[in-house]
Point group: C2
Chain length 135, copies 2
């Protein structure tokens, strides 16, 4: 990677979360279930996913500010500014989101997962088996 | 993300692992410690990281085959071919690597972490607090 590389959009989140203000900071903080719609060109990569599987969905926070290098953790201004690499702020040079979740249903070209704290319309860039699963 | 987006290289892995054959499939399978060198433009984002912190390092598997959609899990041809989204194969449309690790030392512009199973020279694209840490 001598130069920057291009990330492909493989799908999109469909969620009842329609504004950033409505999104919990973490999935375990009351996030709803969501639908992960996979583009036709990438649907073969879903083969074998079944209800109950624990996955990590990787998203691209398309509304994030990529110039931010430090933040007050959890917007708490009583806390000192901290580098974004020791936070989970969506604002960071490459705004990749990691979402630990569980598959509820496998549909034609889509997964229903629970929970997922990303905004409706957020691009999906990868899906993997959860790091908590020993392979 | 109407179109593909560009991912910036924020740093590079320096590791005793000099060939793909030498790399364990997962960090917990005997991977060594490694040095995560951060480019000067992004070093402010390291502020606050300290020894003992559990982080996820996100890499870009620059040698991966992005056209692969299904694989035999862990190269075991006795297992049926499975979609890459329910594996952790490095070969996938967006070859992002997730590495759960622990900080051993914080140096000028670099972190020493243990373990890390990526090849020497692998580009780093993000660093976050581990998902196993409740914030």
């Amino acid at each position: 990677m001598k130069e920057d590389v291009s990330l492909a959009c493989i799908g999109k989140i469909r969620s009842p979360l329609k504004s950033l203000e409505a999104c919990p900071k973490q999935g375990h903080e009351g996030a709803p279930s969501a639908r992960v719609e996979i583009l036709p060109a990438f649907q073969a990569a879903m083969k074998g996913i079944k209800p109950g599987d624990r996955l990590v969905v990787l998203t691209w926070f398309h509304l994030a500010d990529r110039t931010v290098l430090s933040v007050h953790p959890r917007h708490d201004t009583s806390k000192p500014k901290t580098g974004v690499f020791c936070t989970r702020s969506p604002n960071r040079p490459n705004p990749l989101g990691l979402h630990e979740t569980r598959v509820v249903e496998v549909d034609e070209g889509a997964l229903v997962v629970d929970p997922l704290e990303a905004l409706d319309g957020t691009p999906v860039v990868d899906i993997k088996v959860s790091m908590s699963v020993k392979m």
